[in-house]
Symmetry: C2
Subunit: 127 residues, 2 copies
DNA sequence: TAGCCTAAACTAATAAGTTAGTTATAAAGC
DNA sequence: GCTTTATAACTAACTTATTAGTTTAGGCTA
């Protein structure tokens, strides 16, 4: 079963599941549609379809179904990267930097993050 | 005119335009559908619709129309960032790093890129 | 147990995306 | 001038996304 890429709305629901972990339709609905912008049954339909597609997993606890994301933020990032930048992280990061809305402090933070990840990776490769 | 986000196929076409700069339907078609996977008229229809949406610009040179992207890779990156990670570059980069398919060399390269961007930004902020 | 509540399953309707064929028109060559 | 060719404009069919209503059934309460 090839897991298709989520649509925009599906992504909204996945984001809620990333935050909540395992959740009922009700939980997702309440988090997503605070002011009744969307119906309970809409969320329900989405979760059912997404379960068919393999984007979420479904587990029955008593009579109610609990849903969990089977599509990670990492996957979303990777898919986007391949789709738009043919998999080149450099190009993506350059584009982000060009967008100009990251502060110098954030950049410093990023530099540190990446440096740490690199060192960790080097160590792993040595062993 | 609110410029909507491009769909998947529209993105394929934008990518070609990013590469070619200004191009005719024919050029886009040849680049995109090397083995006749899609019809000339399909590309044509897409470009027409995308022009209506403001995703590309249209310029007549004689009888033929030349198209140019009006939606940059930067915009695509920024939109994605907001959609999936609520605009947090940190989260995105962390996700990328977690994906494990970047080599230590690439990471080093990234670190350098970001460092340079940061210094440039600092200098600009000083002045 | 009869009625109520909740949640799942089913159904449906509209909108948007995707693909490509047909028609019309202008230019280019013979 | 007529035929071919290339391109734009129009049209159409089919698919997928999005939204939500209706029906059904399990469990709870009085």
């Amino acid at each position: 079963m090839a897991q298709p890429a989520p649509s925009d709305r599906e992504l909204d629901i996945l984001k809620v599941l990333w935050k909540l972990g395992e959740a009922r339709v009700r939980d997702v609905h309440e988090t997503l549609c605070q002011r009744g912008q969307c119906a309970f049954t809409t969320v329900q339909t989405f979760l059912r379809i997404m379960a068919e597609k393999g984007l979420v997993s479904q587990r029955a606890k008593g009579r109610t179904l609990y849903y969990k994301a089977r599509y990670s933020p990492q996957r979303a990032a990777a898919r986007f990267l391949h789709k738009v930048f043919d998999g080149s992280v450099d190009q993506l990061v350059l584009s982000m930097l060009a967008a100009e809305d990251t502060s110098a402090d954030e950049l410093k933070q990023l530099e540190k993050l990446i440096g740490e990840a690199r060192k960790k990776k080097l160590k792993r490769e040595e062993s």
